[in-house]
Symmetry: D5
């Protein structure tokens, strides 16, 4: 958990948008160069059941994030082709049709490895006389909040089966923005509009 207070890694990752275009996306530069906050959330796999509810929830709140000058980016280790297939699958069929924010296709695990969020362990295999990986080598449900300088101001990881709460991320963005503007720290349970 060393990344809070540090710069997010500057690396190009393949991403897919809702138009079906594969393009390179650098999360750090997205924040720094466009002077935006970024919410980056990882989910384990395309074409599973929990995950689409989170993707739709972030889509539903997209306007709220935009009001707060915040870009939303999803991420998994599937390929761009698989993201596109899922984007073209209807919500009722377990798809994510309607999602408009970009999704990282970290198929080579470059970024996930740097963040150390792969749910993976090495195991010695006697037959092969070498180490192999256990599990599918996919990511936990990790979330990063990044400010306009590219600095991480929150990171959190949930165990596989627990979905995330979009409102809590909006609250933390508000609190951090409050500190940025007013130089005041935010006490526990602080919320915009309530008394600090």
């Amino acid at each position: 958990m060393a990344i809070v207070g540090r710069q997010f890694p500057s690396i190009d990752v393949d991403a897919m948008n809702e138009m079906g275009d594969t393009f390179k996306l650098n999360v750090f530069e997205e924040a720094k160069n466009k002077n935006k906050k970024v919410l980056l959330f990882w989910y384990p796999k395309d074409f599973t059941f929990v995950c689409p509810t989170e993707l739709h929830a972030f889509q539903a709140a997209l306007e709220e994030f935009e009001k707060r000058n915040t870009v939303v980016i999803g991420a998994s280790c599937d390929t761009p082709e698989v993201h596109f297939a899922w984007l073209n699958t209807a919500k009722d069929d377990g798809g994510i049709e309607g999602v408009t924010y970009p999704i990282l296709a970290d198929s080579n695990r470059n970024l996930a490895n740097m963040l150390d969020i792969l749910d993976v362990e090495q195991e010695y295999n006697d037959d092969l006389e070498g180490y192999i990986l256990k599990g599918d080598n996919v990511t936990f449900r990790a979330t990063y909040l990044i400010d306009e300088e590219g600095t991480v101001f929150h990171e959190g990881v949930n165990h596989m089966p627990v979905g995330r709460n979009v409102n809590e991320f909006l609250r933390m963005i508000d609190a951090y923005t409050h500190v940025q503007k007013n130089g005041e720290v935010c006490p526990a349970n602080w919320e915009e509009g309530k008394d600090a």
Copy 2:
């Protein structure tokens, strides 16, 4: 961020309770042996301004945590003697009088080092021809949710100036308990009583 899904470190740490007793507290055994969930939250320093609001907020919600079979434990790198002095300082004087849950005094940083949550960097010093530490070597605002097996099911770290939201931790405990009981995963924004 490797600790989610793994066992919390089993190590004795000095702690102070509201009676002024210094005793050894092992967070893992607190969960495992007493069959409790644990919420462990770290704050940077005693006798500062943000921190007491968080300590009071957790105190205020203590009954809610107890309903959910959850023990609350605070933690910083100050000594037991300092915790005791702060516990004896009135709330209006910036103290935490009235807090009844135990507070870890991780003065030797054993646990904070294992969790890798110290806000610290090494810097080469030319005069001394060696490396020295920058900063006070205190912890970030890190929070851990641990289940009855001693397994971590959430970890999160906030940058220094942003206070935590107690309700979000209650929500995640509910969601995880729901999964434990019903074997159902919880979608995004799930809350107890609402439809999953």
Copy 3:
């Protein structure tokens, strides 16, 4: 290209069948324990354009392989969930509906790494002061023919854009079987029924 004449690696890999079941499949044991020949073919990615033609071609020839006591297995580095989604996509939509042989989901690249067939290179990244992978870390179009002892008797790799010829694999299986039965070597261009 060291594997011809050696035993195929004995390792369990996740696989998906047309019923939507994820199960462990060990190619070596499939040959050895069931006394079958195996044709194992790798393709780069699900939900692309060349690949399905190869998958359908192997499906079309499945009866011919069965006559020759040969099991067909496909393989890519996508997850079982993605394979299942693709199996449920109609042929006209670029899917592989109708494929009945199992497909390995080598998401953790355990087997692909052992076979050294990943189309990948390391590249030093100055910003990150470390090595990252170039490309999607997916496999070449590699094919393995394995006999009833689990020994590889042919391996071949095609560059990305060139599809495979199913008949040539049938011919090589026939030739090898001829050698097994008759102890005669097969000259160039040998085909079953023609004069050796």
Copy 4:
């Protein structure tokens, strides 16, 4: 099997032509400098029984390869003197009289080692307290297709007793040339003149 998609090694190897001249031949430069495709095929040993049928088969198809701008080169680890003796032995006596393409005499195994196609293993010898090689240290039946840039676009290895199919190599050259010309990928079982 790392060589597909990479440049073929640029190294001079002794070769023998049908005139009895020993000369240096660099396969990579043969392709690159003369703007030709190259089919390079290896066989285990001169003066054996399977091998000459393959050498004659490639000779018989030489015109077809030339039509496709493709040079054919044979290769084994015998010396130029032995190649010449075999070239002077009549076909009916098991010789290869009539072969006109050059044959590499990789007696020092420089190229075979780089390609990792020697059928060889190390074995510890107790009497000698050291490792010795098992087997004759000759090559498998490996085949390489190389394009005009010197890049390998197919590699395949057959176990010792199975002869190669010359037509399949012509098909792959056609398919690759089709991709070069039309930018279209070739599906499974594609053949020139049939529909892609």
Copy 5:
């Protein structure tokens, strides 16, 4: 005990003064740049019982030290915030109200580590398969006398429960000053005004 006769380490350490200001203090430069002698004394912890008597004793003798061109500096491993809280605690409540010399807050142990005065040992922990620290990682009661060149001319360490004798330090300062002025060595039990 290698430091006598050597230069005191030149390093900035956080310090707290009686005004509540946190500032950087470099003991070596305090001596060298201001042409002063320095008495630096370490105590284990704020908010304990022995320690304040020593802090008050040095305060009471402050005028005597000043007459001898000597600056007094206290030091522990607590944070500046804790020092300030203790400075604001009345003497009768175990506080050090009234102390006017600065107190180092060596929270990151940079200086204490260099001086090797931390009361700490490593211990192997079987559960954690690693070394952990025993004890609170706080300092012994160490005292340093430093001359105007920044050179240490006395160092002493007392076991935890024994308080220091302020007069003895005054005597040693006098003796050393006598040597500086007169070039005469001082015999045992020498005191200013008595015969040498």
Copy 6:
């Protein structure tokens, strides 16, 4: 300065007594086996000027140390023969005639090296292409107070020209004995008979 709170090294060292006998003396066992406290003081060299005043001062106070169950031992790196010659030299001639406590002759520097109290530095010598020692390789004026368990409870080092104060050592022995008897810590400037 790591030795306070630890056991004094258990090692035999040559010593000379006033009878002219060379014998082995183990300081640790002197304390532990005889159930005595020990005051061990080091001086740089025999036959110098400051040192004899210290040796006579300890002799003069010998009765006071004995009352406190404390053995006095002197020590330097000279040989037993030299100690004996000095013991036979009259006080007026700069000798130490009349001293009755034993004096360690740590000629091989075994103990002084363990205590790290030799006034010595390494220096590279260009002519000899190696490191040589600067200085006479003799000890600082170091003093150790050791309790009946062999544990060090005070250590102090004075720069060469400053003589020691015998009374301060008596005071520290009294204070430590007070803690041993009464379990009370001794505040600053504590003296037997005064109020703690």
Copy 7:
């Protein structure tokens, strides 16, 4: 040239006899187990011009060697198949028809490497960034005389173009046998029947 006076390496090497059988031959055991002397001679390559004259010369003297209880063995690095082809080539065509002693086919160079008689050097190749071998990696014209214990009593190496003198080897066998029988050393130019 370390092998004189030592045991010849005990290793099985493929060999070809005049019947066309490939069999394993262990030179050391040939001497030791059959109680024979052995003359082992190496030549560079089959199907060259000098070499057959040497092979025929040893054949012509075979009876003389047999009289002296000596087995003759030839050796090169060609394969058994090539030896057989050469044995079937008439003397007038540069073949060795009529040779009846066995010929080692040290195709994997196991024995030649141990004897260090390969005419080979390593050369760095800039294009390939590695070392390659210069030359054909064949042997010098080396000869070994081995006694009935398997001990080497002569070794000699000629540069490529100089043929060997069979009579000189007969003379040395006689001289060594003379020493074995009579215990007398043989002076220079000694020959059987002349005076020693």
Copy 8:
């Protein structure tokens, strides 16, 4: 036996001539600078029985060597003084009086070590806890023929008790000279004047 075909080591060695002069002799330069062939022969020890017969035999053939532009040089590991004593000992007394060619005195074994012709082995000695040499550390009966470029064209080693045949060396010099002049290789048993 790596030296055939390579340059003889260029090193100065002490030598003795029949005049009793000790001088430096460099075998390589003797060949190269004077445009001579060199025969260099080693014998184990001065003042033994076999050796003088060889030294006299070379002396007797000296004219024949000179006709062939060849210098003869003897060599052992004795000192120049010992060579001189032996040269002054009559032939009938086992001496070598009358020898006129120079003899190397390789007392420091520099050259013998490079040629690896010392009859020596290491043996572990338990008493001394180290390796010692077995045997006298003298050379085998090794012979080198070197051409006018300093290149070795024959090397041979005989076991201790077998004397050398001077005529065989003359024959090899003739054969090599024949190749040098005519570019023709010399078959087995070739001799000057006979048909090649």
Copy 9:
């Protein structure tokens, strides 16, 4: 015993002369710069019984050494202060009063270590888990004769209890000087004035 024939180490060592002055003395420069021979003799310890007889014997012969252009220097590992005390002790009291040549005070053993003449061994101490020195770490009775170039021409070491013979050193100086002057070697038992 590697130092004969080599240059004596050039290093400054503290020395004491009969005036009581401590000064630096470099034995090598004493010879080289002043164009003198040097006799350097080591003895174990000041204030012992054998040693003074040797020191007086060299004093008695001082004129003879001076006649031979030879400087005498004594040496032990005691300090200059101890040397001075011994020089001031009457001969009858076991002192060396009357000695006028300088005596090295190699208290830090720099020179004795280089010459490897310390009578010392390392011994493992179980209690201390480390190596300690056995013995007093003083020197053997070693003697060095050094010529005007600073080159050692004799070195000798006697076991502790055997005194040296001054005349033998005079004889060796004469012999060496004879060689220097006449270029003649000196046979056994040679003495100046007798026939060589």
Copy 10:
């Protein structure tokens, strides 16, 4: 010069006696097993000019050594054969005829290496890209006196041209024997019969 006071190395060395027999001689066992003192003297080379005078001088004094229970042994690095030749050379011809004590033939330098008395240095040779030895690799004029336990009680080394004094060795044997018998140390210039 580390060997005084230690055991002489126990190793067998070839030796020659006046009968012409080569035998193994172990100097240590010669002393220990036969309860003798040993004088071992080394000289550089046989057949030189100084050396025989020393060998004759020791022979002349042999009776004196025997009276003192002392065995005399000579030693050089020549072979036994060379020693025998020299023993058979008349004194007038520079030989050592008449010598009856044994002479070590340390041709393999085993013992000389252990004693570190070879006059040899390594020198880098640019042509050969390696280290070679300078000089003849023969010994200095070293002498060892060994007692009946095999312990060395004197060692001395003279530079090449200076002969030894036999009487001085007799004197040292007497002195050491005196100490053995009487337990009294021998002062400088001590001689048997004179007052100690």
